[in-house]
Each structure stands twice: as structure tokens, then as C-alpha cells.
Symmetry: C2
Subunit: 120 residues, 2 copies
DNA sequence: TACCTTGTTCGACATTTCACGAACAACGAA
DNA sequence: TTCGTTGTTCGTGAAATGTCGAACAAGGTA
């Protein structure tokens, strides 16, 4: 397996439909996207997910590699946010459709977020 | 992703976002959906897919179990078509988004169809 | 009846995915 | 420097997925 030290964020043209659909095909990842839907950047520590931290790291990487989220590092902390504009440009309407469906069905409801201010 | 062994055609309420996204996360299945996008019913024999017939059977089953297509049997032949109205009702806009993206990127371009009339 | 066509199911296999804990590296704080 | 926090990577394992060929069942045809 080829591991890039810091996984890359794909450019617009590099995002593929199949990768994005695959990323949305897991309830935990859909839950994460729901949490990020308000556009605010979140510290990973804020995320409340019922899996081990290594597994969370995995899911966040799948989202990042698909181009759905953008990760920023600051010291030892990582922050993540939705690439809403990029997604809307690449696959117009997709994010809204997914969010509507996910909220209606409560997909990924076991994913939450602490509301402590990241930059307090 | 999770595919149930005996599931047939799910009702509207039984369609899940995660299953539909999983079904769209394979280029062959996206290609099949593209072929069916014109709404016409197709005999399986018409479908030109570069995989063994058992593999085609598998992919068509994933699409059917997710609620994306409907299969009808007539004698020894099977016919398949898109459940466009059901999809639009359950996940409004999703199919159009996927078809737009798939056609723009030529996802599943290796999937084709013979245009010989099934009942000639 | 025997044969052919069509699609399903099975067994096998390789690959991928998801999950965990442990070890590690990087950084900030004491 | 030493320690604690944070996220990545590794090793492992279970489960799912994609693929094939072979065997099978159902239905039409000779």
C-alpha cells in the first residue's frame, strides 16, 4: 500500500463520483458530514463518534481523500470542515440531496459534536 | 454496502441512503444506470458489460436491492428498468445529479447496450 | 423426449473495508 | 528535558465486495 505522509486533498478535477459515493456509503461518515453541514470548522477532539480514534482517523481520511472535507493542522490539533463550495462546483446539488436524505432518515445520528469553542 | 441475501424490490420507505450510495460507488453499476437512463426497459441480453454473466447478475442484484432498478421476469428472460419515479420521490434530485456527473466524466463508459429489439 | 438458452447460486479466491489496540511522531507545556 | 496530548501508522482480524467458472433450475424449442 502506498502511503503518503499527509494525504492529499484532491483538486476539483480529481474528485471522482465513485469515490464520493463510496464515502457517503457509510453511516458514520454521513453522520460526520451532517455535523459539518453548518460550515463551521471543527477540531477532531470535538467530534463525538462511537469508534476508536484510529477508526475515526480512517473515516476522516476517506472523506478527505474523496474531496468532501478539508483538513488543516495547527500544532498537534487537526481541524476539519466541509468543502461545500468545491463539492457544489464539482457535483452540483449532490451535497444538498445527501444532507436532506440523511437528516430525514437520521442517518449517522450516533455521531455528535461537543460545542466547546475551538479557539476559546 | 450491506446487501441482504433475500431482499427483493424494497418499498419506498425501505430504501436507504447508504445502500443507494453504495450501489452508485461502482463504475459498472453507474454505467448500467446510464444505459437505463432513457427509461426504456432492457433485456439483460442487450446489456454489454465486460464481466462474466454471474458478475453482471451480482451487480444487477445490488441495484435492485437498493431500489434503483426493477426487474421483471418473462419466461427465461429478465428485463430491467430504472425506478426513476420512486428514486425521485425518495431521494429528490439524486438521480439527476448522479447521471449528470456520470455522463460528464464518462463513468461506466465501458457499459453499453445492443440496440436490437428484444422481441424482433 | 432431449436439447438449448437464460439467469441464479455456489465455491473459491483476491482485494478492500472497517474495526481495534498498540506503538510511534510531533508538538506544547511543565 | 520530561511529560501529556493528539493524530497517524502498523499489525491484526473479521466482514464485505468483485470476480470468475461451474453447476443448477426454469422455461422454451427441436
Amino acid at each position: 500500500m502506498v502511503f503518503v505522509k499527509q494525504a492529499q486533498h484532491p483538486e476539483l478535477e480529481e474528485m471522482t463520483l465513485v469515490a464520493v459515493m463510496g464515502a457517503f456509503s457509510d453511516p458514520i461518515r454521513v453522520g460526520l458530514v451532517r455535523v459539518l453541514a453548518d460550515g463551521r470548522e471543527r477540531g477532531w477532539g470535538e467530534l463525538r463518534v462511537p469508534v476508536a480514534k484510529s477508526t475515526l482517523s480512517h473515516h476522516l481520511r476517506v472523506l478527505r481523500d474523496a474531496g468532501i472535507t478539508r483538513t488543516r493542522q495547527e500544532g498537534t490539533r487537526c481541524y476539519v470542515k466541509l468543502r461545500r463550495d468545491d463539492l457544489d462546483a464539482r457535483f452540483p446539488g449532490l451535497l444538498d440531496v445527501v444532507l436532506d436524505a440523511a437528516c430525514g432518515d437520521d442517518v449517522g445520528a450516533h455521531v455528535g459534536v461537543d460545542h466547546a469553542p475551538p479557539h476559546a
